[in-house]
């Protein structure tokens, strides 16, 4: 109908109002107890509660208004655009990709290489600490973890809910071996990887026959077991106190980053003392580790073992009847994934200088898995984007003081991290059900890579 222009059809508006009110009611019921009521301890240490009707009202309003806008305006707009596209006969797939799109990876890599210096230039030494450490290193650790888990979940299709266990093994391997025996980071990094891989195999054996939900439960339990061992084996791990004063990584044994040391990095280069140089060094270390993970993943995917992983995810019976040994295939997937988790763990330990079981709770596994799923199960680029969005997003949250204007001065955005994390996941999954990069890149072609029409290589969306 010609009347249905930008402002929307009366029907659409009516529907939007109804949906908006409904969303408001749902939000009210959902948040009534969580947000509307707050418990706290008074001076006598008694638990009492007070109401927060204002905050609750804001929550309800935000839900209602966003639903109203999305039904009344955003969705009609998107539909119109799709329709126009379909009418103009341009297939989405054959569209020319922009320069940025085609060279995305190169641009991203160059950006990462200059990132620490860029931040030094723009915000200076003190400001850079935040950008290099909180954003750069933090995100890259998750990229690496997610890429490691991707081998197990994305490629081999083995749902692992306890991946953080290997991260913990790596971190504690470094923390313990360096504080008890004084081994250096560069020796312990590969060792942590190997130890984690061994644990991967140890976990792999009992769960060989399990798939899907059952595997997920057992791996979840495994993650918890490792954490509980770390808490309770107090003689060695110091339990919940954790291990502190973990040695810093050195500049490949040449210079040290300890301020007091004789051959300290800053002295050797005539720089003024600042911890930012160590952070920048760590940034490049984790960047290199990430690149190693990506390189190994890409290479393995083209080798028989990588193809076997992918085939295993698709059809185990077919795999076996093609002569693939599914036992070793699964074990290598577990071991390889765990190894990268171990690398990331020992890096984490040296960066923090402190490890405790607190850092290896189930939530970490869940976040890493969420990144893999959001990224599109198997796509390295997609996963990296997801890590930037999810981890970077939660860091940005700390900065969002303007939210206090909306939600009142007592509002601390970090506390709502998980709520927003969940919201973001739902939104991404609504619009991109297969994750950011949802189609699998083929690894083999006849003779040379032909210019393949996208309609062939893209998967159907079903």
């Amino acid at each position: 109908m010609a009347a249905s222009t930008e402002t929307g059809h009366p029907n659409v508006l009516g529907k939007a109002v109804r949906e908006g009110v409904f969303a408001g009611v749902v939000a009210f019921l959902m948040f009534l107890l969580f947000v509307g009521i707050e418990t706290y301890q008074d001076i006598n240490n008694a638990l009492v509660w007070r109401t927060r009707w204002g905050l609750l009202a804001i929550f309800v309003l935000v839900a209602a208004v966003s639903r109203f806008l999305s039904v009344g305006f955003i969705k009609p707009h998107i539909d119109r655009r799709k329709l126009a596209k379909a009418k103009s006969g341009v297939l989405e797939i054959s569209e020319q990709k922009s320069f940025f799109h085609r060279h995305f990876l190169k641009i991203a890599l160059v950006f990462l290489l200059v990132y620490p210096f860029l931040s030094l230039l723009i915000v200076g030494k003190q400001g850079s600490l935040k950008y290099v450490d909180n954003f750069g290193i933090q995100i890259l650790i998750y990229v690496m973890l997610a890429w490691g888990l991707n081998i197990v979940v994305g490629l081999a299709g083995l749902l692992d809910l306890g991946y953080v266990a290997f991260y913990a093994v790596g971190a504690y391997s470094y923390a313990l071996l360096s504080s008890y025996f004084g081994f250096s980071f560069w020796l312990l990094l590969p060792m942590s990887g190997i130890l984690a891989a061994l644990w991967g195999i140890i976990l792999g054996f009992p769960v060989l026959r399990l798939r899907g939900d059952y595997l997920a439960i057992v791996t979840l339990a495994f993650g918890e077991i490792i954490r509980l061992v770390l808490i309770n084996w107090t003689d060695v791990t110091k339990g919940t106190f954790g291990i502190s004063g973990i040695a810093k990584a050195s500049f490949f044994g040449i210079w040290s980053f300890d301020t007091g040391s004789a051959n300290s990095f800053v002295k050797a280069w005539g720089l003024s003392a600042s911890s930012v140089y160590y952070k920048i060094f760590l940034f490049y270390v984790i960047l290199a580790l990430c690149m190693l993970t990506a390189y190994v993943t890409i290479r393995l995917r083209r080798m028989p073992i990588g193809r076997a992983w992918e085939a295993l995810r698709e059809d185990e019976i077919a795999c076996r009847s093609l002569g693939i040994n599914t036992v070793t295939t699964k074990l290598t997937a577990f071991a390889t994934g765990a190894m990268f988790g171990g690398f990331a763990g020992s890096f984490f330990a040296t960066r923090q200088g402190f490890v405790s079981p607190e850092s290896f709770v189930f939530l970490e596994s869940a976040v890493i898995l969420a990144i893999v799923v959001l990224g599109g199960m198997g796509s390295l680029t997609g996963i990296a984007i997801a890590a930037v969005v999810m981890v970077g997003g939660t860091e940005v949250l700390r900065e969002m003081s303007f939210l206090k204007v909306v939600f009142g001065p007592d509002f601390t955005p970090e506390l709502y991290r998980m709520l927003l994390f969940g919201l973001a996941m739902i939104i991404v999954m609504l619009f991109k059900p297969r994750g950011f990069v949802g189609s699998r890149e083929p690894t083999a072609f006849l003779k040379e890579r032909r210019a393949v029409s996208g309609s062939f290589t893209k998967e159907g969306h079903g």
Partner: protein, 242 residues
């Protein structure tokens, strides 16, 4: 033809839990033969095919392949003895391209013949060549069947097991696939053991055939004999379109 035995199934019993799916089956396939197995739904045909491949393994009895007892071997080692199966339901890898699926079939030992073999599959099934970059899961049913057979052939099998290659296909495509099987058999001496619901076509194609009822072989003979057999006609051929 001097009948040299390639596959010998002797008194095999296979169970799913407590359910006996095969109740003492004897089947023999000689080198260079096409042998077919027909029977009603649930007779145990697919179970026999899978038992030959060791998944599930026979609880009693023996499977002898090329003079070697393979009854207790794990599936992947049986496959490496060059028994290839195009299993029931095709079981191609849906997210992999046609080309990658064929690559999976080649396994490790045959990669050196890879290009040659792929060309051969593409001449046998030109449709696959056109579609080589397409995802397996988006192929039509008939194309998937061709891919499943093609993937099995990539293993350079001594024995090809086909479980219902004509399932759900248009008559013309069935004809094409059966002709391809015949051609492979005549030109390369490939030994084929196939399960078919399309009994008429299968019996016409085969040198010999077995009829299976409730986990037991009840009849066997040459294709022609069984085609003429009144019992077989009544049970599997009458009421069909022939």
């Amino acid at each position: 033809m001097a009948a040299e035995s390639l596959l010998k199934v002797q008194a095999v019993e296979t169970y799913y839990g407590n359910i006996r799916a095969l109740a003492g089956v004897d089947v023999e396939v000689n080198k260079g033969e096409i042998v077919s197995l027909i029977g009603a739904n649930g007779a145990g045909k697919s179970t026999l095919m899978m038992t030959i491949c060791g998944s599930p393994q026979a609880r009693s009895g023996q499977v002898i392949f090329d003079g070697e007892d393979i009854t207790r071997l794990p599936t992947h080692l049986i496959a490496r003895r060059r028994i290839a199966q195009s299993p029931e339901g095709r079981r191609i890898f849906p997210r992999m391209t046609v080309y990658e699926n064929l690559q999976m079939g080649a396994g490790l030992d045959n990669l050196k013949y890879f290009n040659e073999d792929v060309e051969k599959i593409f001449t046998l099934f030109p449709r696959l060549k056109e579609r080589q970059t397409q995802r397996g899961g988006t192929l039509s049913g008939g194309e998937q069947q061709m891919l499943s057979i093609g993937r099995a052939l990539m293993a350079r099998p001594k024995l090809l097991l086909l479980d219902e290659p004509s399932l759900g296909l248009a008559p013309l495509i069935v004809k094409g696939i059966f002709e391809a099987i015949k051609k492979l058999n005549q030109e390369e001496g490939l030994t084929v053991f196939l399960v078919e619901q399309n009994a008429f076509a299968a019996l016409k194609l085969s040198d010999r055939a077995y009829v299976m009822v409730n986990g037991k072989v009840t009849m066997s003979g040459s294709g022609k004999e069984l085609l003429a057999n009144p019992e077989v006609r009544a049970a599997y051929l009458e009421g069909g379109r022939h």
